[in-house]
Amino acid sequence: MSHETLTTLLWLAPLPPILAFAVIALFTNRYRQTSSTIAVLAMIASLVMSFIVFFSVWQMKDLGKKPIGGQIGWLPTGETVLNIGVVVDPLGATFLFMVPLACTLIFIYSIGYMSADPRYTRFFAYLSLFAGSMMGLVVSDNLLTLFIFWELMGFCSYSLIGFFYQKPSAYKAAVKAFMTTRVGDMLLLLGMVYLYAQTGTLNFHAILHNEEVLKELAATPAVLGLGISAAGLIAILIFGGTVGKSAQWPLHVWLPDAMEGPTPVSAMIHAATMVSAGIFMLLRFFPLLLAAGEHSAAFTIVGLIGAFTAFLGATIAVAQYDIKRVLAFSTISQLGFMVAAVGIGAYVAAAFHLLTHAFFKALLFLASGSVIHGMEHGHHHVSHAHHSGHEGHSAHGHAPHGEHADPTGDDAHAFDPQDMRNMGGLRARMPITFVTFLIGGLALAGFPFITAGFWSKDEIFADAYYHGLVKGDGLATLVFLVLVASALLTAFYTMRQIAMTFLGQPRTEAAAHATESVPSMTFPLIVLAVFALFIGFINIPKDFPIFGALMGDGAFWLKNFIASMLLEKPEPLAFNIVPVLFSIGVALGGLALGWLVYARHPLQAGQTDPVEKLPVFDFLHHRWYWDELYRKIFINPLQAIADNYSRVVDKGVIDRILEGGYALGARVTQGFAEFDRVVITGFSDAVGRFFRSLGDWGRELQTGQVQNYLLSGLIMVIAILAFFLFLFQ
């Protein structure tokens, strides 16, 4: 296919979902069926265009050096014009494969999942805009349009997290997500402005694939005199955007609260759109990080934050009961894996893990949504049986979701369908959900060989091990050890979640009566499960025993493809058995530990969770108290400042000034009134009076008596005569 056609397709790819948003919002918002059909068809159109592009470019060897794309002049900036455009390079192509595919499946799933919701069409409108923004971000060839789509996603996530806005927790979570990511966006904006000031362009290719520009950025000292180069400072500022969007410590607090949104939204945020965007941008700017230097502050910061976040998320996930919250902290942890990988220079491994993670995390979220759905059905079934004629079932014959805050559904508040302690034994009731969840969970845990998660995680371990323990880089060593520990915890909490949810006997009536979800929900699960198993095979190291040989030429495809983005190709790592053994060991070890604790003797109803016996349980359950800490050190002082400001500055100073101004104004006005009364009115009245009296006097002359007229004629004649005598004497 010609480059022009591909460029046109790139321009068009993000449009259908954005148009679908407009059409649903403006025209079809009253028609539920039509709206969701439009949204899904638009997403499929976008998917088809993206796939055409992907399958046209995926075997081009030098795509990284010569990306396909086009530009148009957009914003005149004095003598120059800021160009915007679209581009597909290997990284973008990978995302063009993953994003629309995951989005389409999530859209299809939403039809079933949201069917009972009264704001069904609004949901699809926002979801379309969300997907369209992510598509736009992926094809953007410059930081400016990327930032625009980035912010659009911020808006969509805000609207969707707060979708059940009648619940205070939902709108608070929406505000929290918006405000927290805003901190990162501010840093990103600073980085963007600094980059533009330094280079005069925001085009990725012109900056990141241009050795001169990168060298110059690396040679320029940063503005603040921090002892780092401009490249380093810009990279750190841009990484700030990633920290916000991809929920890295210290801005990780919004992501678990984002669970307040409907489950398909969680899947969108955690897999295809929001958090992927952050990592995507970090990967895009990897050449800038490289330019800043191999052991620069920028790399160190990225690596440390990533590793710490990976560990933080994994520990917290162990002590959560909410099925979605476990997954949320798991996402934070896995994103930490990716960021840490970037921090040690394992660029391809990070991209690979992002790709596989998107599939299995989307799968896990959708499967957990299916579980919640099933639990609600079961609960409704039970309460329906107990008190017949109970209010609160929708036209579809079942209760609205508990998460679809039903203000009248009294029992929805007492019963939490997301709490894993209420589940158990769902394996028999929901077989498809169980199998797909199991696959997703094993992929997350990194179950060896047959799951995608293993290959991508192994890739990160291999890089970290090589740079750390073989080459002796301290940061990489630290990253390796922390990630190994986190992976162990990951396998453990995954097993815990699977066992608590699906194994053993039902612990509540609701769980005992749960039903399998509708096909529009299970179909996406099955598709995603296939990807969660096999997507990892695109990047098996060539010299990996057995599997490398099985893949033949296809092995390591992703690495060769994506690595062509870089100016210098990273040297291929020799196969090393040690990180692989670690990888297998922690995955199986964690799963086995989880098996021993949770699956051998599944929890009985009323039995406490064994992790509660741990001394650090409270600490972990309360998420290391980060939220409380932020409340103490940021929110409370800010609120105090705001209160004081309101009291002192607003009421004390500004109001006083306004009151004084008012009094002064009143004085001045009074003065003007006086002036008006005396001078202006007085004068005009006087003039009036004068002419009136003149008129009165003239009226007196009009006697109608001929002799008077004659007399006045005489006087006039004498006067005129006197005048002429005086004049001509």
Binding site: Q702, G704, V706, Q707
Partner: protein, 108 residues
């Protein structure tokens, strides 16, 4: 005639004329009778005639302009008297009075 001209200077005529004009003017302004008022007007016209004739006779006896003006004034005075008397009679028939002070219907 030549004697007369030599004996009496022009200003005597002018004094008589002025006196006659003033008497007429007084009559016009002060009389309470419309007919007397009309007579005052006649006096003033005749004072003008005296002036016209005196100036003609002393300054330009060769031309006949002064005589012609005087003749015109006499004719106009006669016509005016006729119209004035007719008006007065008419007013008298309506108001039973010819006092000019009571005739103020033309007042606005």
């Amino acid at each position: 005639m030549q004697n007369l001209l030599n004996g009496i200077p022009l200003w005597w005529y002018l004094v008589v004329s002025a006196a006659l004009f003033c008497i007429g003017l007084y009559g016009v302004l002060a009389r309470k009778n419309a007919i007397a008022l009309l007579m005052g007007v006649e006096l003033m016209l005749n004072a003008a005639n005296i002036n016209l004739l005196a100036f003609w006779r002393y300054l330009t006896p060769a031309s006949s302009g002064g005589l012609a003006f005087a003749a015109f004034v006499l004719v106009i005075a006669a016509a005016e008297a006729a119209v004035g008397l007719a008006l007065i009679i008419s007013v008298y028939r309506i108001t039973r009075s010819i006092d000019p002070e009571k005739l103020d219907q033309m007042k606005l």
